[in-house]
């Protein structure tokens, strides 16, 4: 359990904990986890959400995706989890071209990813605990290991007290934290977070960012769309900026706003 490793063990022990696992790489031997080649996405109504996007994300990267409302950030993320297919160009995740992936293999690819959706996408008839457990159940995790993992994830996002509530009985921020817990609980190789702190107060926001950073230190790749300029500017990570569907900036250690 990565999450356990992240918080319950001393920091220096962490890299060792993941060494034997598949998909863990030393810092020197970084593979490209995600490659977008000249991707264009045109929605059925004719709107072009992405144009000629080229993007390479090596395993273990932490990438901020920024850009104004409607720039195409969420669309890019939908392409990565194959919720939508690219109109042209290739999306290659962990060596697999998503356009050519047979239908029945799609769930396997999605299980490598932990996604925080902008609109949360919680299951309305399941409680917070069940929503988080769901991400483990789909991977076929034995029952005995699901319970503890879920409790740990809920503790990290501060929702232990709300575990038995249904999504409609939660505040906006609590729903968002449930979505975050679900995205992290199954120990994914890639975390995609679409404005994961939009409904959170600055304190909890910062805790969530810290959690993502620690997970990233363990080798998990993180792609995070955000409008939080303070966080982007402070962390000095790689920043990819979109505008009207095009990548207009891709630099390491950049701020939220254009330099010019």
């Amino acid at each position: 359990m990565t999450l356990e490793a992240v918080t319950d063990r001393p920091a220096d022990a962490l890299p060792v904990a993941r060494l034997g696992e598949p998909g863990s790489w030393g810092a020197t031997e970084r593979r490209d986890l995600l490659v977008l080649n000249d991707v264009t996405k045109r929605y059925p109504n004719g709107r072009e959400a992405l144009r000629d996007v080229d993007l390479v994300v090596p395993e273990g990267d932490f990438v901020f995706l920024v850009g104004p409302s409607g720039a195409g950030k969420s669309t890019l993320m939908k392409l990565i989890i194959r919720d939508e297919l690219a109109t042209s160009g290739e999306v290659i995740l962990d060596g697999e071209n998503l356009a050519r992936l047979p239908r029945r293999k799609v769930p396997h690819v999605r299980r490598k990813i932990g996604t925080v959706f902008q609109d949360f996408k919680l299951l309305p008839t399941k409680t917070v605990r069940e929503n988080v457990a769901f991400a483990l159940e789909v991977t076929g995790t034995p029952r005995g290991r699901i319970g503890p993992a879920v409790e740990r994830a809920l503790r990290h996002v501060g929702l232990t007290g709300q575990a038995a509530q249904f999504p409609r009985q939660l505040s906006g921020g609590e729903q968002q934290r449930t979505a975050i817990a679900r995205a992290l609980v199954h120990d994914p190789r890639l975390v995609i977070a679409d404005e994961p702190t939009g409904n959170l107060d600055p304190l909890i926001s910062w805790e969530i960012i810290q959690l993502l950073l620690r997970i990233n230190e363990l080798g998990v790749t993180v792609l995070m769309a955000t409008h939080d300029a303070d966080v982007v500017t402070a962390l000095r990570k790689r920043v990819v900026a979109l505008e009207e569907g095009r990548i207009i900036r891709d630099e390491i250690g950049g701020g939220y706003h254009r330099r010019g």
């Binding site: 989890i81 919720d83 029945r104 769930p107 396997h108 999605r110 299980r111 990813i113 996604t115 959706f117 996408k121 919680l122 299951l123 309305p124 008839t125 769901f134 991400a135 159940e137 789909v138 991977t139 029952r143 679900r182």
Partner: protein, 294 residues
């Protein structure tokens, strides 16, 4: 495998109760449609029983020569009784024939013409009951060929008419049952579809989180089975509760054709349970399929 089954079953149970308004609406529809189906099945069975009863009334009647010897008649009777098409042979003497004729006239309230007669003009006869009225030809030929027989009453027309009517009613009954079955099938599938449409978003979210098709489908299918079983149980309970008083009432009211549920109870139970379970499962399967394919 067992684990997955148990998991799906518990999820189905949960799904049923967490969408209880929809589940109950679907169950109610299932129950009513199964009642309709069962009602028709019972009525059709009653009809078939009545038809069989009518068919058994078709008899071949052979008047015997007044000169025939008793021994010859006995031999003929035995020979006819041995035919595979024949159910039963009755010997009716001249006197018996006159008595029956008088009774029939009296029962119809008509004048007794025989009182104007000096002697009994009627013949002794053999009355042959058939297993299947369509076989009357063979039996008639066998009788006609015997020297003791003066003439065989021609029932070709009558048999033709009875067979036509019973065939028609059998075919029509089956056709109506089939049409009603199709309507029931469609309505139930439709109802389950509507219930699943309300959960399309739920299915979509499950897929996005990485659930395989089987993982999503089976709880839904079991939920459909649950709706079907519950509907079937309610239907059978209703039929059981209604059968006795209704049967008694109909028997009081109309002494000819009481609908006997008891005799076909097993068939009805099988039909209702099978249809309920089958429709629930098929309905759920088809409904979920729509959302899995895209």
């Amino acid at each position: 495998m067992i684990g997955f089954l148990a998991f799906s079953l518990s999820r189905a149970w949960q799904g049923f109760w967490r969408n209880v308004a929809m589940s109950l609406a679907a169950t109610a529809t299932m129950t009513l449609m199964l009642l309709l189906l069962a009602g028709f099945f019972i009525v059709q069975n009653g009809l078939l029983a009545a038809l069989t009863f009518v068919e058994q009334k078709v008899e071949v009647e052979a008047d015997l020569r007044p000169t025939a010897l008793d021994a010859d008649v006995d031999a003929l009777e035995l020979r006819i009784e041995a035919l595979p098409e024949v159910l039963e042979v009755d010997y009716v003497s001249k006197e018996e024939a006159l008595r029956r004729f008088r009774e029939a006239r009296a029962a119809q309230g008509e004048e007794d013409l025989t009182r104007y007669l000096d002697s009994n003009p009627l013949h002794a006869s053999l009355q042959v009951k058939l297993r299947d009225p369509a076989d009357f030809g063979t039996v008639m030929d066998a009788l006609r060929a015997d020297p003791a027989v003066e003439r065989v009453k021609n029932i070709t027309d009558l048999v033709g008419r009875v067979v036509t009517v019973t065939d028609f009613l059998r075919t029509a009954g089956l056709a109506i049952l089939a049409v009603i079955g199709a309507i029931v099938l469609f309505i139930i599938i439709n109802t389950i579809r509507l219930a699943v449409v309300g959960r399309a978003e739920e299915i979509e979210v499950m897929r996005l989180v990485g659930a395989s098709d089987a993982f999503i489908r089976w709880p839904f299918v079991f939920e459909g089975a649950l709706v079907g079983l519950l509907g079937a149980t309610l239907t059978l309970a209703t039929i059981a509760a209604v059968a006795d008083p209704l049967g008694a009432f109909m028997y009081d009211f109309f002494r000819v054709l009481p609908i006997r549920v008891g005799a076909i109870a097993r068939d009805v139970s099988l039909l209702v349970l099978g249809a309920g379970l089958g429709l629930g499962v098929v309905g759920a399967w088809i409904s979920v399929r729509t959302y899995l394919i895209r």
